[in-house]
């Protein structure tokens, strides 16, 4: 570990510590936005762990997230709260492994379409089970406050960043970057591409499921149509791409401005939200094709030491 790594780790820990102090300053509006940001930071970062290096665009976030909310919804009365995210992580990883085994041999648009369908598939299976068992709508009535949820999300974010950092330094991370550049070359170099991709997809799926399990008490009423809402998957992809997936902090650089922009539009133009968001997307795609990370690299290249 070089001095630079140690410095970066220290700075990251300091930043996280500061962010975790926020609820002491405000427990209302700002915390509510910050909780949303924390949620999307975890989702987008874990999404980028897999999709960034491999270039496989996954739209399955909502499937894993919904699975997690249902774990909490079904289990919060009978199981201890700390156990629920762990169960969610396990189920999320298993689901990701199953999906990965079937689909990661596909590539490009086939994979995208399948993951989009996955959320719907899981939703219908959950509904079918509910219908067979007479299970009712779920009310997650707990004493958990937004502050608790925020801290749990920040803790999870720290874990995700750490995992991402370790992966990037490992043989696995190197293998994934080769897969992303040219999968055939990777295979010929002796990399087990399927295993590498499935492993990363499992991590990404497990994290999204844990987020669902943590956030469920915030929604109170869990129903399949909101738990598996496909818009979540798209939001995560858009935020991650706005930030850029080339670096670990990329998605975070997308989540913060995007959440503020969304809030700004919701607040000032409640009747034209979708229209203005569409315009914002167009601008992002045309003006910032590589996301903020790309912009940062370009600027560094032009002005700074990055060119060497």
């Amino acid at each position: 570990m070089s001095m630079r790594d140690i410095r970066n780790l220290f700075l990251a820990a300091l930043a996280l510590g500061l962010v975790a102090l926020l609820p002491l300053y405000d427990t209302g509006y700002i915390l509510s936005i910050a909780t949303t940001m924390a949620m999307f930071t975890v989702l987008a970062t874990s999404w980028a762990l897999f999709s960034g290096p491999t270039h496989y665009i996954s739209l399955a976030t909502a499937a894993f997230f919904g699975l997690g909310t249902f774990v909490t919804g079904l289990g919060f009365q009978t199981l201890p709260m700390w156990l629920l995210p762990i169960i969610a992580a396990g189920l999320g990883a298993v689901l990701a492994a199953l999906v990965g085994l079937v689909t990661l041999r596909l590539s490009g648009v086939y994979f995208v379409i399948f993951t989009l369908g996955l959320a719907e598939l899981v939703r219908q299976v959950v509904t079918w089970v509910q219908n067979r068992t007479g299970q009712r709508g779920m009310y997650v009535l707990t004493t958990i406050t937004e502050r608790d949820i925020y801290w749990q999300l920040i803790g999870l974010a720290a874990l995700v960043f750490l995992v991402g950092w370790l992966i990037a330094r490992s043989r696995l991370g190197f293998a994934l970057r080769i897969i992303g550049n040219d999968e055939t070359v990777a295979k010929h170099s002796g990399i087990d591409t399927a295993a590498a991709k499935i492993l990363l997809f499992m991590i990404s799926g497990a994290v999204a499921a844990v987020v669902g399990a943590i956030v469920a008490p915030r929604y109170i009423y869990i129903e399949p149509s909101t738990a598996f809402a496909p818009i979540l998957s798209f939001q995560v992809v858009i935020m991650a791409l706005l930030g850029g997936t080339g670096r670990l902090w990329g998605p975070l650089a997308g989540v913060i401005p995007f959440t503020l922009l969304w809030e700004f539009i919701s607040r000032n133009a409640p009747n034209q939200t979708l229209l203005l968001l569409g315009v914002a997307f167009l601008l992002i795609v045309y003006v910032l094709p590589g996301g903020f990370v790309g912009l940062y690299e370009r600027l560094r290249h032009r002005f700074g030491s990055g060119g060497q």
Binding site: G28, Y29, L141, I220, Y221
Partner: protein, 402 residues
């Protein structure tokens, strides 16, 4: 870089500006409302929620506002779109309370969004008088959120009353014992089907056909096909707006003609009659009103005049009533201090005059008097079963679709 700082700057400015604009004039009451303008429930909110809210604000201001202890106060309505998304519903409630500093908030639209926003209402001390929240969890919810009130009624009671209509018809010798029971496979449909099935079986009815379908399904034909083949006397569907229309359409196409045809949500919408016209005659659904009540007639007329469309025959009136209740509590206390108004609302001895008739809350913040089943009769959706309401009409049998 420039663009990013521009965007961030704009957002920061917005947050700061909110703090400044919160300074309020003496003679207004700021009322915040967040409900769907986009997303899956936007259609329903457009029929039921928004016109009723705007109508009450319009009428109250026309009449000079609400009378506070130190003179009248006009209502200033602040609207947001919650995008039918619990996340946004939470954020909008938070924003209205802490940034716009509204004095009171209109409860959101639908059960799910009301529950998502409930902790915010509760923590910040806002009364949440709900008009579109049907649940059976009043005891648990009122214990957790003592400021949450329920005007629309209980799901369990509605399912029971629907089954009771069949029991009464059979006792009168009008129909037999064969029932086809279908439901949309989500929390609402499953719960309602479960309760009505239990009541029907207890009373010796025979469920000759039972099935469910996923929310948002396009293929309704096999359901009607199966139900028709079972030759039931009564067809009960715990359905949502999209499938309510689709089931009726299919029943007409296949000429499926049971003596009782019941579809749940949206049967009470004026657009249902608009679509099916005279064919809707005799169709039953959730809700209902007393159309002969002058209070409802005046409401319907004003509603049509302001929004260009009539109210629905169920939750429009209860949404409007939630604001009447709030307004009366504010005037009775002469205060826009939320804590004072909340205390008044929580006092069960107080009663409110609304378009629904008198409303009083029990110890679970629950209104015990409401319409449960309605039926299209001569172009009006008349209440044919109710708890504690006058003007219940007689049920007629459905006589085919022509």
């Amino acid at each position: 870089m420039k663009r990013r700082s521009l965007m961030m700057g704009a957002a920061t400015a917005a947050i700061l500006a909110a703090g400044i604009s919160a300074a309020q004039a003496q003679d207004t009451i700021r009322l915040g409302a967040a409900a769907p303008k986009t997303g899956p429930l936007a259609g329903g909110a457009d029929v039921t929620h928004w016109p009723a809210v705007r109508l009450w604000v319009h009428q109250t201001n026309e009449a000079g506002g609400l009378q506070l202890a130190d003179g009248p106060a006009l209502i200033e309505l602040i609207e947001y779109d919650d995008q039918t998304n619990p996340q946004q519903a939470i954020q909008a409630a938070q924003r209205m309370a802490t940034q716009d500093r509204v004095d009171f908030m209109v409860a959101p639209y639908s059960t799910g969004l009301n529950l998502a926003a409930a902790p915010i209402f509760s923590q910040l001390g806002y009364p949440q008088i709900t008009g579109t929240n049907v649940t059976n969890q009043q005891p648990e919810l009122s214990a957790q959120f003592p400021g949450m009130f329920f005007v629309l009624g209980r799901t369990g009671v509605m399912a029971e009353d629907t089954a009771q209509v069949l029991v009464d018809l059979r006792e009168a010798g009008e129909i037999g014992s064969r029932v086809a029971l279908v439901n949309v496979a989500d929390a609402f449909g499953i719960e309602m089907a479960g309760i009505s099935r239990a009541v029907l079986e207890e009373n010796g009815f025979e469920i000759v056909y039972q099935t469910s379908y996923p929310l948002g399904t396009q293929d309704i034909a096999p359901i009607i096909d199966g139900a028709r083949a079972a030759e039931p006397d009564a067809f009960i569907a715990w359905s949502y707006p999209g499938d309510t229309f689709a089931l009726t359409d299919q029943a007409i196409v296949q000429n499926f003609t049971p003596s009782v045809f019941f579809t749940a949500v949206a049967t009470a919408f004026p657009s249902y009659y608009g679509r099916f016209g005279a064919q809707a005659e005799g169709v039953m659904g959730m809700g209902g009103v007393n159309p002969d009540d002058p209070a409802f007639q005046a409401f319907a007329e004003a509603h049509t005049e302001l929004s260009g469309q009539g109210p629905d025959f169920w939750a429009s009136a209860s949404t409007y009533a939630t604001l009447e209740i709030l307004g009366q509590a504010i005037e009775a206390t002469g205060s826009k201090d939320r804590a004072v108004v909340m205390e008044y609302l929580q006092d069960n001895s107080n009663s409110y005059e609304t378009v629904l008739g008198p409303v009083q809350f029990n110890e679970m913040n629950d209104n015990e008097r409401y319409w449960t089943v309605g039926q299209w009769q001569d172009g009006v959706f008349r209440g044919v079963a109710a708890r504690g309401r006058d003007g219940v009409s007689d049920v007629i049998l459905k006589d085919g679709w022509d």
